[in-house]
Amino acid sequence: MAASEGLRVEGVAVVLGGRRVLDGVDLVVEPGETVALLGPSGSGKSTLLRAVAGLEPLDSGRITFAGDDLVGVPPHRRGFGFMFQDGAIFPHRDVRGNVEFGLRMAGMRAAERAARVDEVLALVGLGGFGPRGVANLSGGEQQRVALARTLAPRPRFIMLDEPLGSLDRLLHDRLVDDLRALLRVAGLPALVVTHDHAEAGALAERVALLRDGRIVQQGTLSEIAAAPRDEWVAAFVGLERG
């Protein structure tokens, strides 16, 4: 794999309110690969995601995608998809209005938009939900709308921030399977933030373990569990497993 493909995060530091939230992070996401960022709360996972999205300015370091330097590229020109925790669904638009938002921004014609929206809604299991208001959707349905909205404009890379964090266990497990299938079908490189091991293992090929703004270990979950780099990693992986 050439060094210029996929997402490259090199020595990224982010300072927020005087605190070094990210401190020299290096991370690679190869084309077609899903990587999970795993770590305790406050470890900087979400900030790293937001930095990649362009929502947090870098203090130092470099982020490239497909060889292009992203520093100075505003979020709306990155062509990335981002699924927020709890969805961040637009309350003033119906399901269709939410899903087609990115398509409208891209200047797609109405007829093509309609077709694409139907296609994506069917993909996430919400066929026929287009004209529905978003206020009365269940938590799981809202997450699916958020996912459809993220996928619709065919982003070249997607980021998911605790995509299933607020759902109850049963729904969570069902959606994890759906989400994994969707990521595989789309063949997109993806970065998923989670604090849940099972979710990380189920969704991602590879896991990057974050602690205090640094990546302490990367690999598959079983690799990490088999050879933890230090006691903290062993405790974190073991604890969550147990």
Partner: protein, 553 residues
């Protein structure tokens, strides 16, 4: 967050848009608020090219004018105290009791606040004046009538500001105090009151501001011996053409208002500090037991009497009820000028509607732009802008009208003969209301919605159009209602700048009142009823569209 937002803004077009958002309100208020204000200061303090405190000294030294200042102060303090006395139980009832008609009551409570001062003065005149059902109380003219009218106006402020916070206070804290052994009263005093204190202070300061600069009510109900700074400015200007002392009085008035406003801003900053709030529908309970039911009944009955009686008296008497049965004589006569009026009252109605439309559009543009700027996180520059934008709220309409009169009648800004003068003055008065209505709605927008839109490819300007505007759309509708009501009802500013042949409805009512004869008073009542209905339609109609309880009023 701020840094994140900086990353969101692209160069070029977006920067121009942002600059416009700042330039439009600053330019507008600079030309039509600051410049007239500076002209007043110039007249009052620098009359002959050098600083001269003689005029202000006259004001302070003149025992008659000291009397005016003293009366202005004590009637405002007393009005505020009385308004809180009536308003707090009402706020409690609206916030915590679930009863049928509560939503309607919330809407109706807003009506007195937006009713034109002239209409309210005429309504109390109809109730308590000669020929009215309360004539034997001999309250008109007099201080008592002024105080009652002030309470009538401002109860809504207390209910809105205090009741709004009260409804959203998490009752679990009071419940926790109860579980720790506090009585109901003790829990209220030791837990709820301190939490409400900032809201009570804020409401009190607002009421104080409004009553301190009360004009129409004092002019019409106070009689010839009672004068406040406002009415004195008017009388000095129109009766004695004594602009120098009028300006000095305005300086005194402005200084007093600025001091109160600074305190108010402080208080509101404290108020804004995070409290755990819950949605109002969780805290309202049906009243249970004899005590609470009595309390509810007494409060609602008292409100109905205070707010209903003058309006009923006005409407009934305008139709001749009590004076020879129902008739439309007064209304029919509205289409003819009659003696001593330049134009028919019906022309004034058309003027008022036109001016209201223009003033509303201008206030929405200016206030809307300012709201977008202010809704971002506070910085030093923004706080200064906030104060500049809020100053017109504290500055009385009289000061604005007076400023227009002495500043805009000569180059560089000569609008003396422009028909735009009146709506522009109204827009200055209305702009802070627009800002107050829109900013909270903008602040309530989850910043992630903007981020989500950006990540879906929307440039910053597009984000504002696609996310912010639609979500605050309803707040804009409410703001439009306020602006229209302000314009329809304004008397203080218009009294200075309306020309004889272009009166607004309040000015026409005032002129009718100054004419002798029962028919003229009947026409004033009829015209007041028309204006009241117009205003109420605008405000109650728009109130129905209100966004939750996000607006500050």
């Amino acid at each position: 967050m701020d840094q994140g937002r900086r990353a969101l803004t692209g160069p070029g077009c977006a920067r121009l848009g942002r600059a416009l958002l700042v330039v439009v309100p600053v330019a507008f208020l600079g030309a039509f608020f600051v410049y007239p204000l500076v002209a007043i200061l110039g007249r009052g303090l620098v009359p002959r090219g050098h600083v001269d405190f003689a005029a202000v000294g006259d004001v302070v030294g003149d025992s008659g004018l000291r009397e005016v200042a003293w009366f202005t102060l004590w009637q405002a303090v007393l009005s505020t105290a009385l308004t809180l006395l009536v308003g707090l139980p009402a706020a409690f009832v609206v916030a915590r009791f679930a009863f049928r008609g509560r939503a309607l009551l919330r809407s109706l409570l807003l009506v007195p606040f937006v009713l034109p001062t002239v209409v309210v003065a005429v309504a109390f005149e109809a109730l308590l004046g000669p020929g009215g059902p309360g004539a034997r109380l001999h309250l008109i003219p007099g201080v008592a009538a002024i105080l009652v009218a002030h309470v009538f106006f401002n109860v809504a402020v207390v209910v809105r500001v205090v009741g709004g916070l009260w409804a959203n206070l998490d009752p679990s804290r009071e419940e926790a105090a109860r579980m720790l052994g506090a009585s109901r009263w003790r829990a209220f005093v030791s837990v709820t009151m301190p939490l409400l204190a900032p809201a009570i202070l804020a409401a009190g300061s607002l009421v104080f501001l409004f009553t301190f600069s009360s004009f129409g009510v004092v002019l019409l109900l106070g009689g010839p011996t009672r004068s406040t700074l406002e009415t004195e400015i008017y009388l000095r200007t129109t009766e004695f053409l004594d602009l120098r002392h009028a300006a000095a009085l305005a300086v005194v008035q402005i200084v007093a208002v600025v001091v109160v406003l600074l305190v108010l801003t402080r208080v509101q900053e404290r108020l804004a500090r995070g409290q755990r709030l819950v949605a109002s529908r969780d805290t309202a309970r049906r009243p249970r037991g004899v005590g609470p039911r009595m309390f509810l009944a007494l409060t609602l009955g008292g409100l109905a009497l205070l707010l209903g009686a003058p309006i009923v008296a006005l409407v009934a008497r305008s139709f001749g009820i009590g004076h020879g049965g129902p008739s439309l004589v007064a209304y029919r006569s509205l289409s003819s000028p009659g003696s001593a009026l330049f134009v028919a009252p019906s022309v004034a109605i058309r003027n008022s509607l036109e001016f209201a439309l223009i003033a509303t559009v201008v206030a929405l543009l200016v206030g809307g732009a300012a709201a977008f700027v202010l809704a971002r996180r506070p910085s030093r520059g923004r706080r200064a802008l906030d104060t500049l934008l809020m100053l017109p709220l504290g500055t009385s309409a009289v000061t604005i009208g007076f400023g227009f009169l002495i500043a805009l009648d000569r180059p560089p800004v000569d609008l003396r003969s422009s028909p735009l003068l009146i709506p522009l003055a109204h827009a200055v008065v209305a702009t802070p209301f627009v800002i107050r209505a829109v900013v909270p709605a903008l602040r309530s927008i989850d910043p992630r919605l903007r981020e989500a839109a950006a990540l879906l490819g929307a440039a910053p300007g597009r984000v504002r159009r696609e996310v912010d505007l639609p979500i605050v759309g309803r707040a804009f509708v409410v703001a439009a209602g306020f602006a229209a009501a302000v314009s329809l009802g304004d008397f203080g500013a218009t009294a200075f700048i309306a020309r004889p042949d272009t009166p607004t409805v309040p000015v026409a009512i005032f002129r009718l009142l100054s004419l002798p004869g029962q028919l003229n008073f009947d026409r004033a009542m009829a015209l007041s009823t028309v204006l009241m209905v117009l205003t109420a339609l605008v405000v109650v109609g728009l109130e129905r569209l209100r966004v939750g309880s996000l607006t500050e009023f």
